[in-house]
């Protein structure tokens, strides 16, 4: 039987070779860069035309999208399941909070890079151990990690205990304000500034991930996922490929954590519960494992669905607290249904339907 990812993969491989590809040629980088530029343009338009609340929602969509992108590469392409990405986001977020705490903090790109790097190192340590594990064992180990991290945070007083650390956003640099005013003709408020940072980070991450996936590295990952023995015979170093996938994925989680710290303005253990890791997984499963578009769709659902569903629940007579549980109920239910009915997720299923219609026509 095909696995979830294989199904999505086959759909992908069978994509018609004409059309887009002919027009773009076989060069991957220009195509991804053009898509990225278009994406940034769309983000600018959306952020400028929506209010402050929508801006903050879009900022959370950005950090969820970055983390989900990393997770979908790990799970979809390399077949490793991580339930610990919430923990890696915590590493990134706490690093950010600590780096922004001093009197003369690094400039923001430096902070983002530092958070990514620190998480990457932690991820490498975990990845070296996890690379030797399979299926349920790696799930269990990363689950243990997700449960352990909040306790570790509580153990060190420097990290603020249950209350967590406040995140001090530095003043928006003057040249950014000027540039924003010059381009958009309106003032840049801090919320919008964070949203721009988040989406810029997302676009950069996705371009890098998309290139990795399309190239030699991505092929190696898929080979390891589909058939270890065959991959090894073909000269792939299994452990190295797994560790690399894990490290890339955790680096994304670290960056996501950094953006999250800036957007939420506080990092506390309760923000990085097991639920966060599990909902990230539900986002990538729902969108379609191994697809960056799917990860983006999934994170959009994670961002906008709770508001919608909670409203429905309150209208149906539930208290606010109970209605807030409706959104996770929907995630859990859709995860089950997707695995049972449409293992390729949204992107894979749409692609399959599209192909079938073209075949019939």
């Amino acid at each position: 039987m095909p696995t979830t990812t294989e199904t999505a993969e086959k759909a992908h491989a069978a994509e018609p070779r004409g059309g887009l590809r002919r027009r773009w040629g076989n060069s991957v980088l220009p195509r991804h860069l053009t898509l990225a530029a278009l994406g940034l343009l769309a983000v600018t338009v959306v952020l400028e035309t929506t209010g402050s609340f929508a801006n903050s929602q879009l900022a959370s969509m950005a950090y969820l999208g970055i983390a989900a992108g990393g997770l979908t590469v790990l799970t979809g392409l390399n077949g490793q399941l991580s339930l610990g990405h919430g923990a890696f986001m915590a590493v990134g977020a706490y690093t950010t909070a600590l780096f922004l705490d001093g009197d003369n903090p690094l400039p923001l790109p430096g902070v983002l890079a530092a958070a990514t790097l620190v998480t990457l190192l932690v991820g490498a340590a975990v990845g070296v151990a996890a690379a030797r594990l399979h299926g349920p064992y790696i799930a269990g180990a990363t689950l243990a990690l997700a449960v352990a991290v909040p306790g570790v945070v509580l153990h060190f007083d420097r990290l603020g205990g249950e209350q967590g650390l406040g995140v001090r956003m530095p003043e928006t640099p003057a040249w950014v304000l000027d540039a924003a005013y010059f381009v958009t003709g309106s003032e840049l408020n801090p919320t919008k500034y964070v949203a721009y940072i988040g989406w810029a980070a997302l676009v950069v991450t996705y371009v890098l991930l998309a290139n990795l996936m399309r190239g030699r590295v991505g092929r190696t990952w898929r080979a390891v996922r589909d058939d270890e023995v065959a991959a090894e015979i073909a000269g792939v170093h299994l452990g190295r490929a797994r560790v690399l996938a894990f490290v890339v994925s955790t680096a994304c989680a670290g960056l996501a954590g950094a953006v999250m710290a800036m957007a939420v303005r506080i990092t506390a253990p309760s923000g990085f519960s097991l639920t966060l890791s599990l909902t990230l997984l539900s986002a990538v499963v729902l969108g379609g494992l191994g697809s960056l578009t799917g990860a983006l769709i999934g994170s959009a659902l994670l961002t906008f669905l709770p508001h919608l569903v909670t409203g429905v629940g309150v209208d149906a007579g539930l208290t606010d607290v109970r209605a807030a549980e409706l959104a996770p109920a929907v995630y859990g239910l859709t995860m089950i249904v997707v695995i049972l009915v449409a293992p390729a997720g949204i992107t894979g299923t749409v692609r399959n339907l599209w192909r079938r219609r073209r075949g019939a026509a």
Partner: protein, 292 residues
């Protein structure tokens, strides 16, 4: 000395509960090669059933029995309706499925019972027993916990060793094809296996809740400890799970007593990684090597 005794006795009780939970995971792993991460919320929701019944004025034991029966039914329904379609397929699908169940049951408990902490009664004293003049850390409920787990394990051994149903279940778990040829209704046996496992899981949920607080997430860390205990014992062997549970209970109790309770999950992670890297087949494996 006092501290050591307290730690050891606390570890013994905790170990019994982890052993029960590990056994539940092990039973399911043996028959269907799935680690049922949803075991934790399943046990949580059956404990809530007991709580509702007890709060309605019935005795503790009515609630206790209702929770166990609820676990039995829930396990059977989950296997038959949700898990059956992914059995024998890619292992990642089954894992994702149990995680979906995990989130769903969690959320349903939050909607139906609310997310606040509620106290759960205990049928026996939760204060230390006194021997001579000194009070020791063993509580009446602690004794009950150990006894209940031992009784359930004894019953399971009897079932698997000496009854026809037990033999069929072992056959179905050992080799589905051959068992089917020999006339064993494999599907039914798998359903029964999940039901029994969920019953044992519910028992551990009740034992952890007794004299303490319950909320929708109270079992979440237990699934980690149960998993670590099962892996300690090799994940394949019921006896190994039980011994693994006791060992883990004692070690975690020592960590909690001497280093701080917030480091307990980290200690569990360290133990898990150490076992998986050094003896992936568990402490008691007979196989020279197994793929992890």
């Amino acid at each position: 000395m006092q501290q050591l005794l307290t730690t050891a006795l606390g570890g013994l009780t905790l170990g019994a509960v982890y052993a029960a939970f590990a056994l539940a995971l092990c039973l399911i792993w043996r028959s269907t090669r799935i680690v049922n991460f949803a075991q934790a919320p399943m046990a949580m929701i059956t404990t809530y059933i007991a709580l509702v019944i007890i709060d309605a004025g019935h005795s503790y034991w009515t609630g206790f029995a209702a929770a166990l029966i609820g676990g039995l039914l829930l396990g059977a329904v989950v296997e038959r309706v949700v898990v059956r379609p992914v059995e024998g397929k890619a292992e990642i699908n089954a894992v994702i499925l149990t995680l979906g169940l995990f989130i769903l049951i969690h959320a349903v408990a939050g909607i139906v019972f609310g997310s606040r902490y509620r106290s759960f009664p205990a049928p026996f004293g939760v204060r230390g027993l006194t021997v001579g003049d000194t009070s020791i850390a063993l509580t009446g409920f602690g004794v009950f916990t150990v006894v209940a787990v031992v009784v359930v394990m004894g019953l399971l051994v009897l079932l698997f060793r000496y009854t026809e149903v037990g033999l069929r279940m072992r056959a179905a778990a050992f080799n589905q094809e051959v068992a089917r040829i020999l006339g064993v209704k494999v599907g039914r046996m798998l359903t029964l296996g999940w039901a029994l496992a969920a019953l044992v899981g519910s028992l551990s949920g009740l034992l952890i809740a007794g004299g303490s607080l319950v909320h929708p997430a109270y079992m979440d860390s237990v699934v980690v400890y149960g998993f670590v205990a099962a892996v300690l014992g090799g994940l394949d062997s019921p006896v190994g799970s039980v011994i693994g549970g006791m060992l883990l209970g004692l070690s975690l109790s020592a960590v909690s007593g001497y280093l701080g309770s917030e480091l307990v999950p980290l200690a569990a992670l360290v133990i898990l990684m150490a076992v998986l890297l050094l003896r992936p087949g568990g402490l008691f494996s007979h196989h020279a090597e197994r793929r992890v």
